[in-house]
């Protein structure tokens, strides 16, 4: 899992939000309940990282539309993201990273100030026999561009801050306009843990994704585990008409959020034997009338996706393939072939026959063992086939604020309906899950 919890205050339709996430998260709710606003939390964080705060706010429509329209400037806007990647070595291991960001608005106008930019890394320390010898948290904070490092809550046995991280290696200042969210790594030193462990020889268990060791210098670089941010958080919203009309030539290798470069991505996947096998196995599972996929390079160097159905020996070009079929191929690619550790997919069920939905949901569950997935949907069929633990119901209260209820099927009032053989998808379609 990449992100295990999200908290937000005064962000769009949310006055106060706190929700735990799992490997697969199926966000359901009526129109205008706040599904898109929830997705905008990820979009906003991603945009801060890729384009800076000013642009990220502008992309959300400006401060007026970034914060809640009713709460306005009276309260701070804050976002908190809890990452649960475990990384490190036997002696010191980071098991949770929390990033918090808050801005305060001026009473009038569109002015604002960043009042909190803080990264907290919770760690545990262990001895030679892997017994826990201490725990605590290191807090990096950015105050007006200056980085401060402090040891937060910690057990008595935890070693001092100087033994874990050297201020020598942490830059004093952030570049102008930068935030801790943008920082890729802070170096941790290991000498004190070694000293603390007596004369034994430590056994290192480096996690190659995050750690680079230069033994015997006993210095390693531990990256802040925001790799879900580093690779971007794709927010897919496939537009089959764009896929049909696009003539991809020079395009990026990763799938575009609207699927426009699908032909090129499929071509790249099918260049390897394993990739071809996997893609065809998955696509033909979802679309049992499909026999083969092909990508043809045309005279003008563009690529054309083609598909063969079991009813004919001939391949159909992309513009003759149904919208739902294109969307399902794009969904397969997004679920299984992207490098990112978190993917958000908006309404993947659009244009799909209900009979295929159970397979699509099964594929989402299957893919979520390797990648965290957030899906938004209106479809009762998705609700019907989903594992009830994966459902997140979003709704508006009488004041218009959005809230998220995880596992709505566990609500006592809903349970009674379910016990009386009324399906959860029917309750959802009748807007009765909110009661």
């Amino acid at each position: 899992m990449a992100i295990k919890r999200i908290e937000a205050k005064n962000f769009k339709s949310f006055k106060k939000l706190g929700v735990n996430l799992g490997d697969l998260n199926i966000l359901i709710g009526a129109n205008a309940s706040g599904k898109s606003n929830f997705v905008d939390i990820f979009r906003f964080l991603r945009d801060i990282k890729s384009s800076g705060l000013e642009n990220a706010i502008s992309l959300q429509g400006g401060v007026e539309y970034l914060r809640n329209l009713n709460v306005g400037s009276s309260e701070e806007l804050s976002l908190e993201v809890v990452f649960d990647h475990v990384f490190g070595i036997n002696t010191i291991r980071i098991h949770e990273t929390i990033y918090k960001f808050a801005i305060k608005f001026e009473d009038t106008g569109s002015g604002f100030k960043v009042v909190e930019d803080r990264l907290t890394q919770k760690f545990s320390m262990s001895g030679l026999r892997k017994e826990i010898t201490g725990s605590g948290e290191i807090i990096f904070s950015n105050v007006d561009g200056k980085i401060g490092v402090t040891l937060g809550k910690h057990s008595e046995s935890a070693i001092g801050l100087d033994g874990i991280i050297s201020s020598f290696f942490v830059p004093e200042n952030l570049p102008h306009g930068a935030f801790l969210l943008l920082e890729a790594s802070f170096p941790y030193i290991l000498q004190t843990p070694l000293n603390n462990m007596g004369n034994g020889i430590p056994i290192y268990d480096f996690d190659s994704r995050f750690a680079k060791a230069s033994f015997p210098d006993i210095l390693q670089i531990l990256q802040i585990p925001l790799d879900s941010m580093d690779n971007g958080i794709p927010i897919y919203d496939f537009e089959s008409r764009i896929v049909k009309n696009s003539i991809p030539k020079r395009v990026k290798a990763e799938l575009e959020e609207n699927g426009s470069n699908l032909a090129v991505v499929v071509k790249n996947i099918m260049e390897s034997e394993d990739g071809k096998r996997k893609l065809l196995n998955l696509v033909t599972y979802l679309l049992d009338f499909v026999v083969d996929l092909q990508v043809e390079q045309r005279m003008d160097k563009s690529f054309l996706l083609k598909l063969r159905e079991r009813y004919s020996e001939k391949y159909l070009p992309v513009d003759l393939i149904s919208d739902g079929t294109i969307d399902m191929i794009a969904l397969t690619v997004a679920l299984y072939f992207g490098k990112e550790s978190l993917a958000i997919i908006e309404e993947p069920d659009r244009g799909v026959h209900p009979h295929l939905i159970s397979r699509a949901v099964h594929m989402m569950e299957d893919a979520s063992s390797n990648k965290q997935i957030i899906v938004t949907t209106h479809s009762p069929e998705v609700v019907k086939y989903a594992n009830l633990d994966n459902l997140l119901l979003i709704s508006r209260d009488k004041d218009g604020f959005s809230s998220i209820t995880p596992r709505p099927a566990e609500k006592e009032t809903v349970k009674i309906f379910l016990e009386n053989e009324i399906g959860i998808e029917e309750l959802y379609a009748d807007s009765l899950l909110e009661m």
Binding site: K278, N281, L282, Y285, S358, V361, M363, D366, E421
Partner: protein, 176 residues
Amino acid sequence: MRMYSRLFIFVEGSTDREFFEKIVVPMFQERYDYVKVEEWAQERKDKINSYIKTIGSGNRNANYIFVTDMDKPCVSAQKETIKKRYKNVDESKILVVCKEIESWYLALLNDDRCEELGISRLHTTDDVTKERFQELTPKKFGSEVDFMREILRTADIETAKRKNKSFRYFVKEYGL
């Protein structure tokens, strides 16, 4: 003139449906004009009961099989559980897969294929559960769906009859 005949196969979920559509439906195609696989686990009880009632109500040209995993200690207890939930199901139409459909998938792999895929050869798959199947899935697949599809692509039905008792029983019972 032979009348148009239909067979409905009720299965628990999508992995069962995939197995039956790819392996079992072709085996029935000589005998029935229309074979349809339906999932029952996520459907309402009364809907499935009504389907079965309709199929079984004096319609001589329609038949059904109700497939279930072995969640109980024995076949008769499992059939009893199904009958209790779906009162219109005829006990003789219930087919119990031992223990779960994953055991039927693995049974389709002959020794050569096991070697090619890099998984241990199993003499029998009667005790294979979903969890065991996941353990046996070669790392290069990284997806259960991909692995299952790969098994179905080169399925060896004769091997499956040999390796799995409940599959063997099913094939014999229906004269396939």
